[in-house]
């Protein structure tokens, strides 16, 4: 079995130690960081995402696979930077102010990183201005907001309204997600998309980054 195939397999099993080891081997064999990333780590996460989407595997599985991916990614990052390989897109992500639930948001972050995006994760309880400041500072074009509570959903609208005030609305795409949300709610508050799960969030981000 080739090294990338082994990477894909061990990543799916959540075997972080083996993924780090295989990544190191691949680097030593001069495989090239971009190839290890795309054909190994990201290919493995794509399989994980696909199985998650079909409900063949669930959250615990994905979290373990993600940890394995990070074990490899941490080794590749300095090499990717040295080679000047650009990221395919940047996404600002956070759970809105007043809401301390971040499991879903973290899952979206994992899936985005697993698809090769740079994620600026602001954590939970994020005030509206932080989302916009972070987008401005990082040059991210996409802002993802999460809420689990019906009491905190309205904060998403505050973020979008603030973007309009600051004249940033046209340049940013707003994605929203969380258990109590819906397509209708996203439309109502002026968001660009409602993402029903982590895999769908990647699809939405892809559609917006391709557009540009």
């Amino acid at each position: 079995m080739s090294i990338v195939q082994q990477l894909i397999e061990k990543l799916q099993k959540g075997d972080a130690k083996s993924v780090a080891e295989l990544t190191r081997q691949a680097i030593d064999q001069n495989m090239g960081p971009k190839k290890i990333l795309d054909d190994g780590l990201l290919a493995g996460m794509a399989v994980v995402g696909e199985k998650f989407k079909k409900h063949e595997i669930f959250l615990p599985h994905v979290l373990l696979a993600a940890r394995a991916m990070y074990a490899g990614l941490d080794l590749l990052k300095p090499l990717l930077a040295k080679d000047g390989i650009p990221v395919i897109g940047k996404v600002v992500l956070g759970t809105v102010q007043g809401d301390l639930h971040d499991i879903g948001k973290n899952l979206v972050g994992i899936m985005l990183k697993g698809a090769g995006y740079e994620v600026i994760d602001l954590g939970k309880d994020v005030p509206p201005e932080r989302f916009l400041d972070a987008a401005q500072e990082s040059g991210a074009t996409i802002v993802g907001m999460s809420a689990l509570l019906t009491t905190t959903m309205p904060v998403m609208k505050q973020v979008i309204d603030l973007a309009k005030e600051r004249d940033m609305f046209g340049t940013l795409k707003f994605l929203v997600g969380g258990a109590p949300l819906s397509v209708d709610y996203a439309r109502e508050i002026g968001a660009d998309a409602y993402c029903f799960d982590g895999v769908n969030a990647v699809e939405c981000v892809k559609s917006f980054t391709v557009e540009r």
Binding site: H55, F58, P60, L63, D125, T150, T151, S182, D184, E188
Partner: protein, 295 residues
């Protein structure tokens, strides 16, 4: 009569409806700790309990869903765990008659367990133990472990309850999503796994709460019944919330929820209540439907 005796006698009981929804109409703001109300405004909790009691609920829950020290720590309130839980029980007891059973709500700890998360099982157990001891000390009639998604966490909670208060009945309910492969919690627990796994560790009553709405709950209940002989507790949301003119609206009316009561009883449900979005009006409608179905 005590809870388990009434169920044994074949009674179908009615539980209460949403707490969060009622607190929000009572002034709870986005980002506030819902359990802080137990300290600041216990009279609001008594008002809510009274409304549910008057609507015909046999079981009324305490406002302690997030009352475990692990969860309260998110608001720097963990040092007040005992006060917060005791005040919630007192507020319900002050408001309802002697025939209404007081149920101590225990929600998830809010963290994921090792190895996929960072929460140590011993810490989670200690957290549940502290909350449950306070609830039992304040003399709840039953403990209700609810909205669980991880079977391991739910089992820790049930075992802990049985350890600290073997004579207090324990209800344990999990929250399922509908997928093309059937009903699963976000952690991948099937209804069969939940029914068997919760019974294994000593739950007296099992079932489901929250979720996508009443119609799905009838199916979930029927699936539970295939895998357990224990009494079933079912508390659906009044559907998934929608926004209408800037306000949050739950789509299922009292009449809609009540129209599924006969099917629930048919499926083998023993206690029927509501979760997010259900109000005293929903519970009153469920009460009438239960009375009509069993008479």
């Amino acid at each position: 009569m005590l809870l388990l005796d009434r169920l044994q006698a074949g009674d179908v009981l009615v539980a209460d409806g949403a707490m969060g929804t009622m607190l929000m109409s009572g002034g709870l703001k986005s980002g506030d700790c819902p359990e802080r109300i137990n300290l600041d405004r216990p009279e609001l909790l008594s008002d809510i309990a009274r409304l549910y009691g008057t609507a015909g609920a046999d079981v009324v829950q305490t406002n302690t869903f997030g009352g475990s020290p692990l969860k309260l720590a998110q608001y720097d309130l963990e040092d007040r765990t005992e006060e917060i839980n005791a005040a919630a029980v007192r507020a319900v007891k002050n408001a309802v008659g002697p025939n209404v059973l007081v149920s101590g709500s225990c929600g998830p700890c809010g963290r994921l367990l090792e190895p996929y998360g960072d929460a140590n099982p011993d810490d989670v157990e200690a957290s549940f133990a502290r909350q449950m001891s306070a609830l039992v000390e304040a003399e709840v009639d039953v403990l209700c472990i609810e909205t669980m998604m991880d079977l391991v966490e739910a089992q820790i909670a049930v075992r802990t309850a049985k350890k600290i208060a073997p004579s207090v009945p324990v209800m344990a309910t999990m929250t399922f999503d509908s997928t093309q492969r059937g009903f699963f919690t976000i952690m991948g627990v099937s209804v069969a796994d939940a029914a068997v796994g919760l019974a294994d560790v000593g739950a007296d009553i099992v079932g489901s709460n929250c979720g996508n709405g009443t119609a799905d709950m009838v199916k979930i209940a029927a699936e539970f019944r295939q895998h357990t002989d224990l009494p079933l507790l079912i508390q659906p949301n009044a559907g998934l919330p929608k926004v209408e003119r800037g306000l949050l609206v739950y789509p299922e009316t009292p009449e809609f929820m009540a129209s599924h009561v006969a099917a629930m009883i048919e499926a083998g449900v023993n206690i029927i209540g509501g979760c997010c979005g259900s109000t005293p009006d929903h519970i009153a409608a469920i009460r009438s439907a239960v009375d009509a179905a069993v008479s």
